[in-house]
Symmetry: C2
Subunit: 134 residues, 2 copies
């Protein structure tokens, strides 16, 4: 675990606007559709099982849920615990690192909730301007 004192130095050496910079990959990963929702769910609800998550994130395929969880586990954001019972029980929860993402992520979801109406109106106006149907 690094100390936080040298954060400024650490951040100054990466640039997400540069192709090939790892920070762009990371931004892409945490900005991913299902990652945002999985992290949000685990943040609000705490520990969850695979099928619970699948139900709550309505519309996610099992394949994508597995892939997303694996990626988040690899990045140290989610902890995966297998309980060797019958049938097997697998629980997912945020790591301390994962919890530090809750704030920024909540910012995003709250913005989208708060400005839904404006965006919807803008879309309608745009479609009228450009003559789109529906």
């Amino acid at each position: 675990m690094r100390t936080v004192e040298t954060v400024t130095d650490a951040t100054s050496s990466w640039d997400p606007y540069e192709q090939g910079c790892p920070s762009r990959d990371l931004l892409d990963r945490i900005g991913d559709k299902w990652s945002i929702l999985v992290l949000g769910e685990l943040g609000e609800h705490g520990t969850s099982r695979f099928t619970e998550l699948r139900k709550r994130l309505s519309g996610v395929s099992e394949k994508m849920l597995t892939q997303t969880l694996r990626a988040l586990e690899r990045d140290g954001l989610v902890l995966r615990t297998v309980h060797p019972e019958v049938p097997v029980r697998v629980e997912y929860e945020l790591t301390p690192l994962g919890h530090t993402l809750r704030g920024p992520l909540r910012g995003l979801t709250q913005w989208s909730l708060q400005h839904m109406a404006e965006v919807l109106a803008a879309r309608e106006a745009y479609d009228v301007r450009t003559g789109q149907t529906g």
Copy 2:
């Protein structure tokens, strides 16, 4: 159609965890790889031309840059201005609504910058645990 007067009420009636809810689409759009970078660039640098953006977001294809800008324009986040000169000059800038997204987005990019090292370390540890090569 919901009324806009009661923003707090308005946000409570949408749920990005529900399939088909427009807020999920919106979250997906603003959480998009290129959208984050385009909005970030326009936020930091102000008005930019097409080719300027393409240079700064190294690795973006013209197709994706066009698509992203169009989507952001449709959502009322970006203003597109065509100057009928020769050759034509097109400028992009954030709308007031787009500016309200700067904060949440900066939160995300800063998090990714600040925690790069931890994530990179977690990935290495995971790859060692699971026996991946590279």
